[in-house]
Structure formats: structure tokens, C-alpha cells
Symmetry: C2
Subunit: 515 residues, 2 copies
Amino acid sequence: MLKEYDQLMKRLEKVMAFQTALTLFEWDSETLAPLESMELTSKTIGVLSNEYFTNLINDDVKKLISALSEKKKWNELEFNQKAIIKNIKKTYEEMEHIPPEEYRAYKELTAKAPGIWTKAKNKKSFEDFKACLDEIIQYQKKFAGYRANYTSKHPNTEQKDVNSVLPYDVLLNDFEEGFNIQILDEFFQKIKETVIPLLKEVTKKKDTIDKAYNHEFYDIEKQKEFCNYICSYVGFDFNRGVVAESAHPFTTNLHNRDVRITTHYYEKNLESAIFSIIHESGHGIYEMHIDDSITQTPVGGGTSMGMHEAQSRFFENVIGRSESFWVPLYPKLEAIFPNQLKDISLDQFIKGINKATPNLIRTEADELTYPLHIMIRYEIEKMIFAGEVDTNDLPKIWNQKYEEYMEIAPQHDGEGILQDIHWAGGDFGYFPSYAIGSAIAAQIYYHMSSIMPIDKYLSDGNLTPVREYLINHIHKYGATKNTNEILMDMMQEELNVDYYILYLTEKYTKLYDLA
Amino acid sequence: MLKEYDQLMKRLEKVMAFQTALTLFEWDSETLAPLESMELTSKTIGVLSNEYFTNLINDDVKKLISALSEKKKWNELEFNQKAIIKNIKKTYEEMEHIPPEEYRAYKELTAKAPGIWTKAKNKKSFEDFKACLDEIIQYQKKFAGYRANYTSKHPNTEQKDVNSVLPYDVLLNDFEEGFNIQILDEFFQKIKETVIPLLKEVTKKKDTIDKAYNHEFYDIEKQKEFCNYICSYVGFDFNRGVVAESAHPFTTNLHNRDVRITTHYYEKNLESAIFSIIHESGHGIYEMHIDDSITQTPVGGGTSMGMHEAQSRFFENVIGRSESFWVPLYPKLEAIFPNQLKDISLDQFIKGINKATPNLIRTEADELTYPLHIMIRYEIEKMIFAGEVDTNDLPKIWNQKYEEYMEIAPQHDGEGILQDIHWAGGDFGYFPSYAIGSAIAAQIYYHMSSIMPIDKYLSDGNLTPVREYLINHIHKYGATKNTNEILMDMMQEELNVDYYILYLTEKYTKLYDLA
């Protein structure tokens, strides 16, 4: 073993410990911490973030990275070791241009912000969140600006057109390596051209699907019972994971043996918690199967937000909303809610869970309208980082776009611009991952269908071969390969949005019996 | 402000942040973390403990402490500042003789141990915990030995008889400043002389109190409803605290605005959860009212385990099991459980919750037998640290002592030596605090009764004046004063076990109508 590698790993052990502690604080603040705690707790988070930062970004680390990057030493490293160093190098380059005191202040801000956002959302008042959001935006612009400026001056092979690096390009690349505004403009253009006309056709036939049953009264304790069952059924292991509740469902993990997901129950909405939990289980299963050799290292997590969303959406939508999936499960659901579901056949249930309706809330959206929600956020984020919009005007612009693309309008900020927690955490550039994820999920599905009888496995209640395939071709690698590398090794093709377009078109044409 | 003080505070901010993170991991591991998580999580805990240690124990801190201890500078410091430095100095002296790598290995061990203990307890098998416990004991002996050796060689004013400093004395003094084997031998001798004969008298009349009602079926959701109510009723503030569940109820806190308590519900035991939650609320109320000026500093917690237990026992036993306390509450409890309690008068209920019966489980013990449970643990710990016992023999000795003092014998290790989590956390010397706490609670009660109409306040459902008195004379000071200083300032008398003896004698003579 190279001594520089050993030294770097010793440092990284500390860095990873601070990151794990920060993850636990974040989990805790979103699931449990008392209302008045965050002001004082954010001081602790500030110290830990600063330790994270200063232990990662310093001359020692820089020297070790550059020593290990020398050809002779590089060639002595194993595959996982190279991946770790590449990853650190990327993180290092992301962070080294941000002054530590600004980073710390920003971390304290984004530790407090979700609390402020929650209160504002409950009050349905953007006014109460505006100043906080504006401060986050200013930091993000500044940070992305430092980095865009650096990248433009120091071209590297990963950035194709270095003269035009924009702050928002930098953020997009953070969430999905190699992606930028140009690629995503094309991606969303194709979606817009397909989904908007398809949605118009579907809307004409909206009365052919009745899902009134979904809004009967469903006892929450019984919902929990079914959700825990389905969570195990799809493969979430309760010995290395936990399920809790939070306002906005999410997944996090400390390592591959401590994976945590949340959901949110509604008495008058059966689907919401079920599909949330299948979705988060998809994320959780990914993290649980990262290989033991890389957990607790910088490459010991999912490779990107897009690939993560591909796993969650594959479970939630591609298989989770298919008829074969529900063949063995629907009788169980009916047994738990016999009165509410007594006149609903499996066929009606499948139509119900796939019904497409323009809707204000992203997390409750069907598969067809979902990418439109993402497109709206993408367009707004692009405007923010191009300096084309004042924070004050965000609710107005938000509402206009919903009107334009889906012909619906929020009645208040709680069901409009305040619905998502992401911006309160500073996660700009994150939303597109959801659409990328859906596209990858569709692409994986067509590939897997060509090599195994997925539908038969599902209707037999045998998810093992499906899950094993994902584990062996995606999950176990963690972030040692990026999204396109994983897809290439798996199916000899990079991300291709056409599969997604095909998937949506086929699915909704059949479901609504369109010409 | 002195520049050395500023520098010290900057260091302490880091040290406190690591401590807070460690507290959160501990809370998490006992309430939520998945079964298989601890092996990997303990690595993170190891790093954080090491950071805590090395940031506290180093030459810079040593120099700053000694500079600030010089007379001229010392006199410039304010009361709280002096308290902080005294406290650091004590912690420093406690820790500086322990090699960092041993401390870190020990912390990793005690992070894993509660998981091993839980499994062993569930299997009722001391065999499964023995090796782990033995390793913890060896570390504790070694650490206490380093410090006893140092203290003997470097006498200071706080240690009265430096030639005879024993390892167990060192541990006792950690939990209650100024206490040692000699003082506690006398303390327990008085208890033994009073309680054992009193218990014999009570046992003769055991059939005069029937509490069969307590073991009817009590729905857990309804118990939770009442427990949350009573928790608020005694003054626990849910805006700055949370209640969860764990195997063994406990209290912890991140600062004065994030205080966490747990309880444990049993379907066939009404009292257990209720008195657990009152007990933990007592701890929680103490931590919630530490003054804002000292929270997140080394003196920002309760002053000692004994004083902490005094608060919890004052709420749980001294007022919580009194008739006046239940005058306004019992009708509420009856309304929630009308069938189970329909033939039980308030008088019968009060007799029931105070019934004294030799019992194997400490946490379920009545007030009279409670100190005997503690005495047994005290005697065993004393033997361990005097090297008079082999870890293999602990269950046998445990069982013999229960036979001798209470004439009962555990049927398995789960209800014997494995019942408490403390040793799994390395907390030797902690148990005596419970008895010291009971004694302080009784002493406080006699004092407060002489200056305010406590019984009237309780039966009026007005706990505010009682709580305010505790806040203003005890809680707000945190650890700026030690136990005896607090008692002296409050009632011009140090801890005196005679009040406790008087309290138990009066209470049980009346309850059982003894001669």
C-alpha cells in the first residue's frame, strides 16, 4: 500500500466521521428535534461543518492528492482506490474556492432554514420564508460564481465548452456529472413536445377513470401496517434500516448498515403513503447494497441524484404501478381495507393509481405530469442563476408557469412555491435529477425486459431476480462509476431520453385507450 | 474580556460541539438506530470521541487554564467564568492521565456494548455479555488506577485523605464531587439499619394493600395520551423537548432547548410508564431551566447525577406519589380507564402506588426497597474495583445479595445482573447517585414544606410555585455550584441522610398503620 494513500485515508476517516455526524443531525432535525432547538443546535452544526471543511480542504490533502495522481503511483492503485481519489479531487475542486467562514455561515443558515420553511409553509406565507431563501440564493450564486470563474479559467477535459461555464452549469454538474444547461434544455424540449400534447389527449378522456375510492377514510395505523409490509416486500431490510415520519418523505443513511427512510400518512389518501414508501425503499435498497469495501468512504453512496431517483422511480412507478406487481399484493390491501375497496377490481385499482391529472403538488403527481413539475423548477432555477428574476417575484412566476403548462393555479404559497423543502437546504440544481431519474428508470426497464421475464417475476411475488440484477449492475458499485459509465457497462448505451418518451407514450396510450 | 479566556472559549466551542454530536449518537442508538448499525457507527463515534479528547487535552488548553488560574487574572473573571474554568480543570485532571488511543478504543467499545447488552438481556444470558463487560471493567480499572495514582501523588484540597485514594473513590467523586467510599459506607449503613427492619414490618402487613388493578389490560395508545398529558402537567415543555420510547427510560439533552426523555409502556402495568415519565420529566425540567448564559458550556448541565436524581425523584416520588398530587389528576386517569379503575378509590390508588414489596427489578421498585437495590450494586462495584471478584462470578454474587437483603432470587440473568444498561455504558460509580438523589429529594421536601404550602398547591393543580422554587434555587445554576453548595445556599445545610430516614419512616408508618 502506498504511504500517501494511507495518509489520505486517515484524513478521510475524520472527514467521513464529520459528514456522518452532520447527516445524523439533519435526519434528527427533520424527524424529531423540538421546534425551538435549531437556533442552538445550528452552532454545533456550524462547528462540525467547519471541521469537515478544514479537514478536507488544506495543503496536506492537496499534496497527497497530487502525489497520488502522478502516473507511477496512480498505476499502483486499485480500481476502488482510484475512484476514491477522483471523487475527493472533485469534491476538493468544488469546495476549495469557497472561503471556510462563508461555508460555515452558509451551513448554519441552511441548518436553520428548514425550520423557517416549515413554519412559512404551515402559514402558507412566502413572505415568512423570502428573506431566508434570498440569503441562501445569494450564497449559492456566490459559491457557484467562484467555481464557474475558476472552471472557465482552468479548463479540464470534463467541461466541454469552458468559455461558457455558467454558475447554474456548475450546480447541474454537481448533481449529475457531465450535465449542463445545454443538455438539459434539449432533454426538457423533447419532454415538452411529447408530454403536453399527450396530457391534452388524456385530459379529454379524464372521466374514463374514477378514483374516488382513494379518498375514503383509511385508518393511519392500518396504513402503517401495510406500508411496513410492502417496504419489506420490495426488499428494505429492517435490520439495517428504519422507517419514520416527516413532512416531506426522504431517505438518508449513515453507512450501508444504517439506512433511514420516511413517509407521511394522510387519512384520506390511500396512495400517498404507499407510493412514497415504495419510492423511498428504492433509494434505501440502493444504499443498503453499496459494497462493504467502499461504505464509509467518499464513494460509499449512490453515484448521483439521478441514478438514485432512477432506483426509487423504478420501484415506485415502473414496477410499483404495474398490474403484475399488484397481482399478489392487491388481495392483501383489500383484506386490510375491505369496506373502502370492496367494489374496486384490480383493473380499476391499476387505472386509479396511474390516472393522470394536472395537480399542484409535485410529490402527489402522476408519472405523466411529473416531468412538467420538474421542468417548471428547472426553468425557474435557470432564471435565478442567470440573474433574471427577483426573489420577490418567484411566487408570481411559479404560478404563471403552472397556468401555462398545466392550466391550474395555486390558491396559496403552501401549494405553490413553498411545497418543496429543497431550496431551504440550498439544493439548487437538484430537481432535474428527478426527471433524469425517471428517464433512466424507463431505459433500465426496457433493457431488463429484453433479458428477463420481469412481469412473470412480479406476478409471482418474486422480486429477488429483479433486485439482484440492480444490485449487481448498479448498487454495489456505489460512486466508483458515474451514471453513464454504469449504463454503458450494463447495456452498452448512455442515457437516452427516447426510452422515457416511448415509455410514457406506450403506457398512457394503453391506459386511456388513445388512438 | 481576558484574551486567554476568549481563546479558551473558542476551543471549548469545538469541544462542546463534539460532545453534543456524541450525545445525539447515543440518543439515536438507544431509541432508533437499526440493529446491525452499531459496528460501523462506532467508528464514527470513535473519531468524534478522539476529537473531543484531543481538543480538550492538549498543551494549549493546559497553558490557558494555568494562565487564567493566576491570582490577578482569576480575580478579573466573573462567577460563571470561574465556574467554567474550575469545571474544565476538573475534567482535564480526570482525563489527562488516560492515553488518547486507549480512550478512543474504550469509547468505541462502549458504543457497541449497549447493543450486545440488549441482545444478551433478551436472551437472558450473562454469558453473551460477559466478555464485553469484562473488557469495560478492565478499561475502567485501568483508567481509575491512572487517576487514583496521580491523585495520591498530587494531593489537593478537595481530596481529604490522599494516601488512601482508591480507584473506586475516583469514580464516586466523578459522579458526586467530594464523595468517596468512606462517606457512602456510612450513608448505606444508616439506610440498612432503618430500611431492612422497616421492610420486615411492612411485609407482615402486605395484604392490607391490594393493587391487582394495576395489572389489568391498559391500552398503550391511551397510556401514551395520559403520559403526554402528565408530562406537560408537571412542566415539561414540548417546544423544547421530545418524548420517545426505549428499553430503559432515560433523559439526555443537546442544550437547554433540546431535552429528550424516554419511557417504556407495558400493556399490563399502568404505573410503570406513568412514574417513569414523571421521573424523566423531573430530569428534563432541570435541563430545560439551566440558564441561557451557560447552556452549551461545560457548566450548562445539571451539577451532578445525585442532584439530577433528586429532581427526578422529587417529582416522581416525593410529590408524584402523594395524595394531594393526585387529587386533580386521578379523575382524569379514571376517565381514560373507566373499567379498570371503577372500583378503585383515590385512597386505594395512593396506597397501591406506594405499596412496598421486595421485587427483582430496580426500575420497578417502590421507594422503600429502592435503596436496597442501590446498596447491592454499590457493594458489588466496590468489590469489582477492590479486585475481590471475578467477572464470571458476578451473577452468583448478585443473586446471593438479593436473597440476603430482600429474600428473593432472580430466575434468570435478564431479571438479575443484566437488568440495567449502566455498566454497558461504562458507568461505574453512577448507581449510588440514585440513593443520594432520593436523600436530597427528601431533604428538599422538608425544607420547602417549612416555607410554602406544598400540599395545597398540589391539590389545587398549581405546580408553578413548586417548580419555580426549584428553578430559582437549583436548576438555573447548572453546574456553576456543586451539590453541597446548592444545598447550603438554599437551606444552610449540606446533604444529611437523616431526612431521608425520617421521610421513609414517617411515610411507611402512616401507609401501613404501623405502631
